[in-house]
Structures are given as structure tokens and as C-alpha cells.
Amino acid sequence: MLASLWNYLGVLPFFAFIIAFLIFPATNLFAGAFQDAKGNFTLVNIQGLFSPYILKAYRTSLEVSLITSVSGGVLGFFVAYAITMGAAPRWVRSSLLTFSGLAANFGGVPLAFAFIATMGRTGFVTAILKSICYSAADASQVCPFDPYKAGFSLYSTVGLAVTYTYFQFPLMVLVITPAIEGLKREWREAAENLGASAWQYWWLIGFPVLLPSILGATLLLFGSAFGAYATAQALTGGSILLVTIVIGQQIRGDVLGDTNLGYALALGMVVVMAFCIALYALLDRRASRWLRR
């Protein structure tokens, strides 16, 4: 008994860490959401969540997370498909996987800076696109690829989505590649042998088999976008109101801040994530019922 306990000793720091930095703060946060600045019980903070300003922040956050988890997911899926089933050369595969490992963890201020330097108003990619011009019939200069004239702005929701995609799709590649590799060649050949077209194979076997993994990966992507803060803050200087940015404003301690409202906002995020996880669990139950029965 003692000997086996000794073998489990390694998990002790883990639990200590979790208690100190997850359980304790989460309890604190939960309690704080229902307290005013003096520590008295109140529902004002929760009420505050339903002000138009904060509801808009939730909407923007959800929008950006949804768009980037789907766009990053689709993009990442096809990249993963290309390097597995598509029989891309070995070096393409290994360099893409290495890149994904890096890029999936590349966020925050450096990422924001990188995008400002490339796609910002004076970024060099913007400059190159701007310089592609020709003379129209009336001798005026036409520059059809100027992104900012075409309505694009890096400092908008769209710009934010593009920036997030940079770490979203590599994350998808990392998560989904093993799943695609798990598709057996024999399934494909058996389907073909029985008269199925490639499309029928994917619709009836490939996609359904991958669906639980795709759902899980999309949830992961959603979570990583929903919780992102530094990238958006550095990119837009807080001009796009995401929930995380509003929380930052509340707890940074300037005059306008209301720490307890910040707690309530965070609680709201927990609720949103809990809802997403519940939805995932429900979909996954359906998608992978053949695994469980």
C-alpha cells in the first residue's frame, strides 16, 4: 500500500499546483462575481453582463472565435489531408508539422507585431499589393489590389480573424493529422472494391470516422480563440472589444475599473465554454456512437 502510494508521489506537485492556481482562483472568481467592492453579496455584476456594451463584447468574441475555428479548422484539415493522404513529399510533411508546432504556440504580442509589419497600413505586403498599378484609359492610375482601399483593415474583426487563423490552422493540423493517419488504407480500398466512388468513400466512411476528431479539434480551436487576449490587445490597442479585453479593462485597476464586474465577465466566459463543451459532448455522442456500443 505504502509502496504503491510512493509510486504515485509524482502527481502531488500537480495537485498542489491545480489547487493553488485553478481551484482556489476559480472559487475566488465565482465568489467575487457575486460581491460588490466591499465584499457584500450582490447581483449587480451579473446584471451588468446584460448591458449592451458587454453583450456586444460577447458577440464579437463569439463571432471571432467561431469564424476562426471554422476557417482555421477547414484550412488545417486540408493541409493535414495533403501531408497524409495526399502523399506530399517527406520534407514538405516534416517541415509543415514543425511549422505547425511552432505557429500553434505563436501568439500574443510577437504575432500582432508580425501582422502589423506585413499586413498593417504600412506593412510590406500591403505596400507590394498597393504598388501593383496600371494606367486606365483616362490616364489615371488604377491600383486594384490595394487592400485598405478595398475595405480591408487589419485593425478590424476581419483583420483579427486573419491574425488568429495564423495559430488556429496549425493547431488543427497538429490535432487532426494523427486522426487522418488513423484512416486505414484498407477501408478505402474495400470501398473502392465494392464499387464506391472516392466521394462515396469520404461521405460514408472517411468523414464519419473522422467526425469525432473534427468536432473535438474545432472545440479546441474555439477555446483557444475565445480565450486569446494579448494578440487582440496588441493588434488593435483595445479598440475591438472582446470579452477578454473588457475583462482586462476592468481589472487593470484604472479609475474606470470594476474588479467584480471583471469576475462576472470571466464567469460568463466559463459559462459559454461550459455550454460549448456540453454541445460538443452531445454531438460527439452521436458522431461516435459506433465506438461506444
Binding site: E186, W187, E189, A190, A191, N193, P208, V209, W290
Partner: protein, 351 residues
């Protein structure tokens, strides 16, 4: 033209690679059960995959029922295939798996249902329709895979080492099942295996392959008793080889360490000199009356159940001797001196 005509099929994987299959030609009659037998890498699976349409032959052609299918894609060949690893679709029930081919062909649901029921009856798993593959044993999965391949009524059935992932007992059970179903449906079948016992017990004819080439084609009886090449002789069954000096190439007479021995066939290269005398373990008789006699010392006695296998040292070589078990059998002791005898017709000379 035979029902299945494989003519001069050659397959190279890549421009610099050697031939995985080298000039393979074979005619298979309707309803025949043919085994491709050989060690791994001998090209048997590649040949099968060329017939199935999963590989494009570098040269040669495949005709099924008079139609050249060489450029017909795999999903239009109407050839059933059973794979080595259980290739059942994991997200579908047994019934859905079996009905898959009919479903993608756009058959009405009622017809599919009826056909699935017939198939499950055929493989003797009628109560398993609603199970998922992971709820089945390996043997059951392979039965379902067989049913799935047969449901579309293929003109040809291809089996790629279907039993090699199974336990010995299930293997024997399922192999007679495969033969029963094949006979029942009178289905032209190609069976790829590296297991000689499977090939011998199942086939109408066996194609022994080595290094991409056909070594010999024949009935199991011919392949085992009259191997034409050294490879076939040693790959199929156990073989004792005695280094001998040929004294009369025309009659096949020779000597082993001074002892004269008679064989029934002339030496293969028609000249005297050193050669090897081949003899199956079951042809050697302990203290028998055969024309050829060799004395030796028993090294080991292995009781295998129905057979007892002895190792006997004769001069510089060790010979295997198999005898049938019976209750009154008296096993020789280790180190006992014995005389082995065998008739002239049981042995043959090889280079």
C-alpha cells in the same frame, strides 16, 4: 480463353526498382480455387492487387470473362476482395457493412435487406446484423468481410491472406468455411497465402511464387510430391537433403558417404558428380524394408500429437523422420542406433 486470363503481367514500383512481379501468366477456369503461395515479398499480393485493379501493371494484361480489364478502375471491376487486416468499416453495423456494395450501387433498401439476410445466413452469423465491428472477434470480422465481398455477387473472389491475423484454431475452422462457401457458390477464387498448409488444403491448383516469378503451377498433390524446383521442394513441406555423389546419371544411382542409394529419376543435369538427394520426412521408415538403408543415431524425439518427429544423425547430416502416432507406438530412445529405410521412388536428385 479461360475465365480469368493473366498474361505477361509485370510490375515495377518505380523506374529503378526490380520487378515485384515478373512476366506472370496464368489461365484460371471458372469456379476454380487457386492459391498463390510464396514467402513475403514474392509478388503474390502484388499480382492479386493487379487483378483487383489497385495496382496498374507495368506490362501485360488481365482478362476477366473475355473482357480486358487492364484499364478498368477498381470500383468497376466487380471483383470481391477480402483483406488481411479486418477492413470492415468501423462506423457501420454488420448489416451496413454487408450491404455497402449494394447501397453505393443504388439498390432499393428492401433488396439490400433481403440480400444481407441471405449473406449473414451464409456465413452463419444471422444474429449479428446490428453489431459494430469492434464488438466482433477477429474470426467473425473476417466472416463479415467475406459476406460483404460476396454480397455484390462478384465475378471473382480475391482473398489476401485472410486468415493470417487469426488464432490457429479459428484459422482452420474458417478455412473450411471459405472452401464450403466457394464450392456452394461455384465462385472463381484466388487465395494469397504464405501458409503452405492453407494452400494445400484449400486449392484446386497452387501457384508457387518466388521473387516475382512463378516457380510451379499444379494440384496440391503434384506440388507436394513432384516439386519441379528446389525452391518449391523446400518451401512446401519439410525436406531432407543428403549431399550425394551421382554414380549413374541416367538411372539416378548415387552414393552417400560410401553407401549406395537408388533413386527413380535421372539426375537433373544428366551427369555424374555431386548433387543433393531429396526425401520427405514421412518417407523415411524406422527399421523398415525399403531398398535404401542408412544407419544413424537418434538425437531427439518430439511428440507433436498426431505425428512424432525424430532427428537422426546419419554421417555428417541430420535427418528429420516423421511417423504417425498410434497408441502402441514404441518410441526409440535418444542415442539409440536406428536404421532408416526408404524406397527408390520416394527420393529424387536435385542440383
Amino acid at each position: 480463353m479461360a475465365f480469368l486470363e493473366i498474361s505477361g503481367v509485370t510490375k515495377h514500383f518505380g523506374p529503378d526498382a526490380g520487378a515485384a512481379v515478373d512476366d506472370f501468366s496464368l489461365s484460371i477456369e471458372r469456379g476454380e480455387f487457386i492459391s498463390f503461395l510464396g514467402p513475403s515479398g514474392c509478388g503474390k499480393t502484388t499480382t492479386l492487387r493487379v487483378v483487383a485493379g489497385f495496382e496498374q501493371a507495368s506490362a501485360g494484361s488481365v482478362h476477366i470473362n473475355g473482357v480486358d480489364v487492364s484499364s478498368v478502375p477498381a470500383n468497376r471491376r466487380n471483383v470481391g476482395m477480402v483483406f488481411q487486416a479486418y477492413a470492415l468499416f468501423p462506423n457501420m453495423t454488420v448489416a451496413e457493412n454487408v450491404g455497402f456494395g449494394l447501397r453505393v450501387a443504388g439498390q432499393p433498401a428492401a433488396l439490400i435487406q433481403a440480400r444481407v439476410a441471405v449473406m449473414l445466413e451464409l456465413i452463419r452469423l444471422p444474429d449479428y446484423a446490428r453489431r459494430y465491428p469492434h464488438q466482433l472477434s477477429g474470426g467473425q470480422q473476417q466472416r463479415v468481410a467475406l459476406a460483404r465481398a460476396l454480397a455484390v455477387q462478384p465475378q471473382l473472389l480475391l482473398l489476401d491472406e485472410p486468415l493470417s491475423a487469426l488464432d490457429a484454431k479459428i484459422r482452420i475452422e474458417l478455412r473450411s468455411e471459405i472452401r464450403r462457401i466457394q464450392q456452394e457458390l461455384k465462385l472463381t477464387t484466388i487465395y494469397v497465402t504464405h501458409d503452405q498448409e492453407e494452400a494445400l488444403s484449400l486449392s484446386d491448383r497452387i501457384v508457387v511464387m518466388n521473387m516475382g516469378r512463378i516457380e510451379q503451377v499444379g494440384t496440391p498433390f503434384e506440388i507436394y510430391n513432384y516439386p519441379r524446383t528446389a525452391f518449391t521442394a523446400s518451401f512446401v513441406g519439410h525436406l531432407n537433403l543428403l549431399p550425394v555423389q551421382v554414380t549413374d546419371a541416367a538411372t539416378g544411382a548415387c552414393t552417400f558417404e560410401g553407401t549406395p542409394l537408388a533413386s527413380s529419376q535421372p539426375a537433373p543435369n544428366k551427369q555424374a558428380g555431386s548433387a543433393r538427394l531429396a526425401i520427405r520426412p514421412e518417407e523415411l521408415v524406422l527399421n523398415g524394408t525399403g531398398a535404401n538403408r542408412l544407419s544413424g543415431r537418434v538425437l531427439s524425439v518430439n511428440f507433436l500429437g498426431n505425428v512424432v518427429r525424430l532427428r537422426v544423425r546419419v554421417g555428417a547430416v541430420e535427418l528429420s523422420v516423421d511417423m504417425f502416432n498410434e497408441r502402441k507406438l514404441v518410441l526409440p530412445a535418444v542415442d539409440a542406433q536406428v536404421v532408416l529405410s526408404f524406397p527408390a521412388h520416394a527420393c529424387w536428385l536435385m542440383d
